[in-house]
């Protein structure tokens, strides 16, 4: 997907949005938004009165005409706001659609025979079909790699130009339709029918085609509808009161008062705010599978953060060799390097690199005597080599200790205390041992250290101030986990975490009324992802993980969970700020319209005209115009979201209350007065 930031008012989007604002006048669409539907009815009513006045040949219809026009503008401006928000998504969807070009697939009859394929159009592939892709081929649909390893260009989806590796088995086996194989080959079992693929889902999500209202949005609409009904009573009963007082109010003026009082500002911008919230996620390369997830992100109480990649830099690094008594540091370094040769993990490589500082150049596997590699296994939890009579092992302290003990040796007390010290300090101790000529001995300890990412402590402090608890999840033991947790500044940690532990932690938090957010990529994360309230699945993750998550991070960057929370909060703050602003506006509008309505009956009411508006007509017209223009003026705010900094609720509230509450009372006084002056200047009243 295109990650390029669009300007807020992209001309092509604006053009489309203008047309859409008219198309959205369809009552079937308007009725979904009760506040604006009332404005629509009011506009129709006023138009009828205008038509009647024209037919009757009445003079002085200029005022009614202007009111009518501005009422229609109010409706159109609200539609325009929604269309603008949708337009940005639609433009992104168009970019995505381009990658869904017609392609043909090489379908295999027999998955084992890569040579015998038939070419079929991609749209005829069904779930369960097996295809082969060779360099240059577009992957025809979502699927699971069942054979082969290849580099894949996923830039069409993620915007990331560097190719990624996809291979069978493990957590990197999921491929997405519309991406391109660059090298080698992949045999893929298709897992989604055409029209149901990730790309299709993404397109419909960013387009907002199947956008459903979120729980908070529904509640807010109920509140706004309730207020609308209350003001409907206030305005409709005004006519009898006016008649009692010996006057009467014309329908256009009653409609004007109603439209000014009902919360049109928030009513008109509400859906734009929601769509823009999802859009902001997309700007961060996160796809929200539902608006509900974005909303829930703002509510999160507990963040579960995987240590690796989120709290710490991806990999641990060897920083020190601590020899056992009677062993030189150089000897330990040599043996450690030897034992790490088969270890392709970043940790393994960092040991080789550290050993080089002792003058040991990297050896290749073919050098010297034939070596037998002993790969790491979950059973032994060790790796190493066998070379003739020499066996070298490195691994977790208890595993290596057992290996030495089984051969009749023992771990020196100094080594044990070193292991404990390193663990306490948050490092990972790897014990190195050898057996030469049947004599086992422990050589010493490699100090692997986790490097905490820069700036994380400050972010966790901010989160804490916002009332969000951070829990670090790690497979490390208690001591190691505690030390890293302290260094990184997280609130809590879960050490030696199994998927079951993670699941029960989530359930415990939720049982206490908290909302939990987490990230995950592996298949074994899927149950926890499904349980969590906000679950960000990595795009590089397995299909199962992606299906269990309600947000997908195309950059596969676990740290982004924090940004997701911030976007969620921003969405809710924007909604609240504009609601407050909208309701606070009513004070000024009352002072403009009520004296204007009745000044003919009771000239004394002129005293309430504290803005000293020119005339009754100018006051009413200015209020209606202000009410319409404020919608347009706030579109950028609705689309971009209210600016905010992480802070405790009290501080955020105080700030927003000043801007949108107090500001909401003052701004319309100034705005209406200004419009009134302009109307007089332009001789429109």
């Amino acid at each position: 997907m295109s990650t390029l930031k669009r300007p807020l008012f992209d001309p092509s989007i604006v053009r489309r949005a203008v047309w859409d604002s008219f198309a959205k006048l369809d009552p079937r669409h308007m009725v979904r938004n009760p506040v604006m539907f009332v404005v629509l009815i009011g506009s129709l009513l006023t138009t009828l009165v205008l038509a009647r006045d024209i037919a009757a040949g009445q003079s002085g219809i200029g005022f009614t005409l202007q009111i009518t026009l501005w009422l229609w503008f109010t409706v159109l401006f609200a539609n325009f706001a929604e269309a603008m928000a949708e337009g940005r998504g639609k433009a992104q969807a168009d970019t995505l659609r381009k990658s869904r070009i017609q392609t043909s697939a090489k379908r295999l009859a027999n998955p084992r025979d890569r040579a015998a394929f038939e070419s079929v159009p991609a749209e005829r592939l069904r779930k369960g079909d097996v295809v082969v892709c060779t360099p240059g081929d577009m992957i025809p649909g979502d699927g699971e790699v069942i054979d082969g390893v290849a580099s894949v260009d996923e830039s069409a989806i993620t915007g990331e130009s560097a190719p990624v590796i996809r291979e069978s088995g493990g957590d990197r086996s999921a491929v997405t339709g519309g991406t391109k194989v660059l090298s080698d080959f992949l045999v893929i079992r298709i897992t989604a029918n055409p029209g149901e693929t990730f790309l299709d889902r993404m397109i419909s999500l960013v387009e907002g085609a199947r956008r459903q209202k979120t729980p908070n949005e529904i509640a807010l609409i109920i509140l706004l509808s309730g207020l609308t009904i209350i003001f409907l009573f206030a305005v409709v009963t005004l006519q009898p009161f006016a008649i009692y007082s010996g006057g009467s109010v014309s329908i256009p003026i009653l409609v004007s008062l109603l439209v000014c009082l009902i919360p049109t500002t928030i009513g008109g911008l509400l859906s734009a705010i929601g769509i823009a919230g999802m859009d902001r996620m997309i700007q961060h390369n996160v796809i929200a599978m539902s608006g509900r997830a974005v909303e829930a992100a703002g509510d999160v109480n507990t963040l579960l953060l995987d240590k690796t990649g989120t709290v710490t830099l991806g990999n641990r690094q060897a920083v020190e060799f601590v020899p056992a008594p009677g062993v030189t540091r150089e000897f330990l370094a040599d043996r450690a390097q030897l034992a790490s040769l088969p270890d392709e993990t970043p940790e393994g490589r960092s040991i080789v690199v550290l050993a080089k500082q002792f003058g040991l150049r990297a050896r290749t596997l073919t050098e010297g005597i034939a070596m037998e590699l002993v790969a790491f296994s979950a059973m032994t939890r060790m790796s190493g080599i066998n070379a003739g009579g020499l066996q070298v092992r490195k691994g977790a302290a208890d595993a290596v200790g057992r290996w030495v003990r089984d051969q009749g040796g023992e771990t020196p007390a100094e080594v044990t205390s070193t292991v404990e010290r390193i663990a306490r300090e948050g490092g990972t101790p790897l014990v190195v041992a050898e057996r030469e000529d049947g004599r086992p001995r422990v050589l010493g300890v490699i100090y692997l250290k986790d490097v905490v990412k820069g700036g994380m402590k400050e972010r966790f402090d901010q989160l804490r101030a916002m009332g969000i608890r951070t829990v670090m999840i790690t497979g490390d033991n208690q001591l190691t986990a505690a030390a890293i947790a302290a260094e990184a500044g997280v609130d809590d940690f879960l050490a030696e975490a199994t998927p079951e532990d993670k699941m029960s932690l989530i359930k415990r938090e939720q049982g206490g009324g908290r909302l939990v957010a987490m990230t995950g990529d592996g298949t074994n994360d899927a149950p926890a992802l499904a349980q969590a309230d906000v679950a960000v699945a990595m795009n590089t993750g397995t299909q199962a993980a992606k299906e269990a998550g309600n947000l997908i991070d195309l950059d596969s960057n676990p740290t982004k969970l924090i940004e997701v929370v911030e976007i969620g909060k921003q969405l809710l703050i924007t909604r609240g700020a504009l609601t407050t602003f909208s309701i606070a506006n009513d004070v000024a509008k009352y002072f403009a319209i009520i004296p204007a309505m009745f000044v003919a009956t009771y000239p004394a009411l002129q005293a309430l005209n504290i803005m000293r508006l020119h005339s009754a007509q100018s006051a009413i017209l200015a209020s209606v115009i202000f009410n319409a223009l404020i919608i347009i003026a706030l579109i950028p705010l609705a689309l971009r979201g209210v600016r905010w900094r992480p802070a405790p609720a009290t501080a955020i509230l105080r700030r927003n209350l000043w801007i949108y509450g107090v500001g909401g009372i003052i701004v319309p006084f100034a705005g209406i007065k200004l419009i009134d002056l302009l109307l007089v200047l332009a001789r429109l009243v």
Binding site: Q570, P648, L657
Partner: protein
Amino acid sequence: MTANGWLQILFFAGVVLAITKPVGVYIVRVYDGSLRWLAPLERVIYRLCGVDPEEDQHWTRYAAGLLLFSAVSMLVTYVALRLQGSLPLNPFTRVGVPDRQAFETAASFTTNTDWQSYAGETTMSYLSQMMQLAFHNFTSAACGVAAAVALARGIARRSGGKIGNFWVDLVRGTLYLFLPFSIPLALLFVQQGTIQNFAHYVTVTTVEGVKQVLAMGPVASQSAIKQLGTNGGGFFNANAAHPFESPTPWTNFLSVFAIFVIPAGLTYFYGRMVKNQKHGWALWAAMFVLFAGGVTTAYWAEARGNPIHAARGVDVVASAGNPGGNMEGKEVRFGIANSALYATVTTDASCGAVNSMHDSFTSIGGLVPLVNIQLGELIFGGVGSGLYGMIVMAVLTVFIAGLMVGRTPEYLGKKIQSREVRMAMLYVLIFPAVILTFTALSAVSPHGLAGRNNAGPHGLSEILYAFSSTAGNNGSAFAGLTGSTAYYNTLLGLATLFGRFAMMVPMLALAGFLSERKIAPESAGTFPVTTPLFVVLLLGVIVIVGALTFFPALALGPVVEHLLMGAGKLF
């Protein structure tokens, strides 16, 4: 305004503050069942009524119980008033109350309104006063508190819709709260000289040589509960201005103080229930600010008097021998400060007892009681209804402003979503709908217009006040309106019923829904409901959502009247 006047008002405020906690703690013990000294009596009542006191009722059952009890007791009162002539304890052979008036009176007392379109001393037999009206004074108050307690339970616990047992709350409220509080108060009244007898009316010759009939009756017992239960229905037509009901400054103080005792205590009770005492005090503070604003405005307006009088050379400045200000419709014994205080308190709380005639206040002085009622009777408010009204406003405040902290709104750990908002909106919607619709109808129909005592904006104020007072279950009158016509009896009676039950049921639904919600723990990210900022917000929502609805109507009533008074025109 005088220092003496302010001192009396401050003394009143200080005493209300002082009793809030002890009364609150006592109410907690009433409703959590830990007070048991009347347990045998309770058991007998439950057995006789076939109530299982252990049952925890779903909100629908709770509401059904409350409605059933109210409907049956209202019907009994209606029949008893109609048949008054054939019933005992009727020394002056009062005849049956006319149909519509009996309906209105029954509705009005059942709903804790006590709007009276009759004069007690010339309409009601002693039996009707004591068995019917006083009965409702106890039970309607107990119903109100029960409903508030149920809401507090719904918020405080997670119980899947269960909010307590209505019958137990009703019985315990009456036995442990209203009876024990009323008896000493009635005795204090008697000690001060309030009459309490079954004597025949006394005919005396006044100093002017005119024969006057002095009404008698069991007044003290009646007036204690009508104040404590925020009922307000007077034994006499003159209500608390009558010297046989309130003979001394102390009875005046006690009677105005009694109005706030339970509503103030309930805020503390609520804080204790939801384990957030500071929030209870925040609600108290919001109520107090509105009270202080009201009493200051009313006192200022009344002490200032009518500028037109001043312009004609009437001395309106207070001095040792002259109360100054606007004394029309006020008891000379009580003066301006105590009348303004009484008028504010009785309309803050939905009491409606009066010691002066609000109709005779200056336009701004009269605006205060009217606005107090229209804010929703939540400034300490009616017993129970004040607290639940304020809680509904707090829920709306949290919902409107709560989003601004970046979380979906939570009130005391409970998420506020569409079901809750729907019920809260229904609650706040019914009130203006009833008042405005009925007032508008009356403002243009011949039946409605016939009842006015004054023309022009003051006449509109009279109608508006009547429907605000009845829908708000206040019961005080802007005395000018003649409410004893069939038209007004019917409409005002309906307004009391809508204003009570059509609001109570959504509120109980809200209680039920909230009790189904999980309780989220408080954190730094939670919308604060204990700070001065919250109090300001709450006041903002009450004023904007509550009062702005009535602004157009008020502008054409008291506001324009005030402006015209400035221009030298009176009504």
